[in-house]
């Protein structure tokens, strides 16, 4: 143990003296969160820009419809002419245009069945659907009043006045949209996975560098065992990944106000399991690489490709099915899936498969690294 602590001090010192490494280890998680924030911050409250073509003049019903649209949260409306409405929608300056035709009020009062307002929007427009979801019940009510007034012999205006003065009504309550926050958190975790894996390989590559400068053999020629040497590297590696996780979580939650959408201890627990996977994989890379350049090449090709496929950089939902199938064989995918399930409030039993798979990845990489390290007996570069 004394030997391991002595070696840990040396590795830590080497790491602290390498400013580039320090930047990589400590700053990259923050950059990751910043990126996620930039990409997803525009997805919060978005206004719907709607143009209103009121061809029914000063009629009370038409004016009330305009007031109603104005009262909808997140709607910005402007008065436009019919001929310019389509052009503005096509140019993207308006999300939709509502045309209240001449005679609209009379139409409503007459109790007609057909929807009297024309909505101009691009095919599949979310904004049009949003406006329609408000207008449908409102206009439906007006037409129902019109039909009721006609059949009951009362004037529309009298019933409409009672309707407007009614004490009962539907109270709308806004619920905070947390999807953007969750997307941000997931993306930040995705980037953290990439940085954790890069950091792990960089730290394990210390062993390759020490082989190249032969200090590794000087260490092994001392009473210190190879196991103590590797254990010291793994310990420092895990500590650095822990610090990265801590920085990322603090900056994400306290700095950017991004809530991960699951209890913090659960997130830390799954990230810790993944840290083991990352360190074990880094040892495999180092064990198979013959020199620093080979390790670097393996690091770039393996980490970037697998992170891309696993959905660390972009959401996996948009990827073809074949890619998603490949992703099932990657530990990063299982981590992201675990986080996603936890965000949805999955029970512990539902996560057994995920956690066991992550642990299996860690165990498999560890055993592979131990096997390969055990066969590396090349001391020719020492004496």
């Amino acid at each position: 143990m004394r030997d391991t602590i002595w070696l840990i001090q040396r590795t830590t010192l080497a790491m602290l003296r390498s400013y580039k490494s320090l930047l990589l280890y400590l700053l990259t998680p923050v950059i990751g969160i910043g990126l996620a924030f930039l990409i997803y911050s525009g997805q919060g409250d978005v206004s719907v820009r709607i143009g209103i073509v009121n061809q029914d003049g000063e009629q009370a019903v038409a004016s009330d419809v305009v007031h109603f649209l104005d009262s909808i949260r997140n709607v910005e409306w402007s008065d436009v002419q019919e001929e310019e409405a389509r052009e503005l929608v096509l140019a993207g300056e308006l999300d939709a245009a509502a045309i209240l035709p001449s005679g609209f009020s009379a139409w409503v009062k007459g109790g007609k069945e057909e929807f009297p307002i024309e909505l101009v929007a691009l095919e599949g427009s979310m904004a049009a659907s949003y406006i329609r979801s408000y207008l449908d019940p409102y206009i439906g009510n007006l037409m129902a009043i019109g039909r009721t007034a006609q059949s009951g012999g009362e004037s529309f205006d009298a019933v409409y006045a009672k309707y407007k003065a009614a004490e009962f009504g539907l109270l709308t309550e806004d619920v905070a949209d947390t999807s953007a926050q969750r997307d941000m958190a997931n993306r930040a975790i995705g980037y953290l996975i990439i940085f954790m894996m890069f950091s792990a390989v960089n730290l394990s590559a210390f062993m390759i560098k020490e082989k190249e400068n032969r200090t590794y053999f000087r260490v092994l020629a001392s009473p210190v065992s190879a196991k103590a040497y590797v254990a010291s590297n793994v310990t420092v590696n895990m500590l650095v990944l822990l610090v990265q996780m801590a920085i990322m979580l603090v900056v994400m939650i306290a700095g950017f106000g991004i809530k991960p959408g699951l209890p913090l201890w659960q997130l830390v627990a799954v990230l810790l399991i993944f840290a083991w996977v990352a360190v074990a994989l880094s040892l495999v890379i180092v064990a198979f690489a013959s020199n620093s350049m080979a390790a670097s090449a393996m690091q770039n090709s393996l980490i970037i490709t697998s992170c891309l496929l696993a959905g660390c950089m972009f959401p996996i939902d948009g990827m073809p099915q074949a890619m998603r199938t490949i992703a099932d064989f990657l530990p990063q995918r299982w981590l992201l899936d675990t986080v996603s399930k936890l965000q949805q409030g999955a029970a512990a039993a539902d996560l057994t498969m995920n956690v066991l798979t992550l642990l299996a990845f860690a165990a498999m990489f560890s055993m592979l690294a131990i096997y390969k390290f055990g066969r590396n007996r090349d001391a020719r570069t020492y004496v």
Binding site: R2, D3, W6, R10, L13, A14, R17, S18, N213, R214, T215, F217, R218, V219, L220, A221, S222, P223, V224, R377, A379, R380, T381, Y382, V383
Partner: protein, 314 residues
Amino acid sequence: MNVLQLKKLTKKYGEFAAVDQLTLAVQEGEIFGLLGANGAGKSTTINMIASLIPITKGEIELLGKNIAKNGKFAKSNIGIVPQELAIYEDMTAYENVRFFAGLYGLRGPELKRRAEEALAFTGLSDKHRSYPRDFSGGMKRRLNIACAIAHRPKLIIMDEPTVGIDPHSRNYILNSVRKLNEMGSTIIYTSHYMEEVEELCTRIAILDHGKVIAEGTKAQLKSIITDQKEIRIDVRSATGLDTRKLSEIAGVRTVTVNDEQNSVSISTDAEVNILNRIIQGLMAADIEIRSVEESQPSLETVFLTLTGRSLRDS
């Protein structure tokens, strides 16, 4: 007392025996020269002594203990000065020595004292806060030695410690080797510079194809070759000398011209006296002779005769 004893030591890579039933003993207080061409098995032997590679067969005993069963004890009593530098460039000279000495269990004031002593011994006291990247090649080699001796090993293995350094550092290192030996360390020394081995070593073993082909003191090794003598002729300029004519003289075995030193070295049969004919041959080639010296075979000649290769060319 034997500090190190190798008993039928064998190292095989597949069917190839890099070290083949090697048996030798290094006694306490010796500076033991280990000579061999590249591929002779020197490095493999040292790596096995240092426990860096496993032994295929045989035994290594250090201070009477089998190193396979007493690995920590053996490693604690050995210091290795590798041919290539094995130091951290991102640590100061003092930090390097302190770190490596710490691997041998030293801590606190004792560790500090030993590290400072090792630096003083190698003449680097005034550089203890400097980084190796600012050192000359010779200073780096001295630091390489300091890192191997701070824990005061009983046996120090030095593998070509003077390769590629300036004469000042070389002399410093050779004197350090003598001093370490005087202070009680047993030393195994390998070098491509035969004159260093002749100057330093009390006993020498010549390795070839993983086996000891000769072992003994310098005199004992030189006595192996009784049928040969050496003639060294210093000339004004050896440039353009056609050695074939000299080689054709009956009794001449080899002719070597050293352009840098303006000398001609000739090995001849011991029983013939052909000095006159050699001098006549040189005069006929218009070579101005400065001096002539006849001697017994050098260690280099012994090595060449036994292995068929020159040590420095190998």
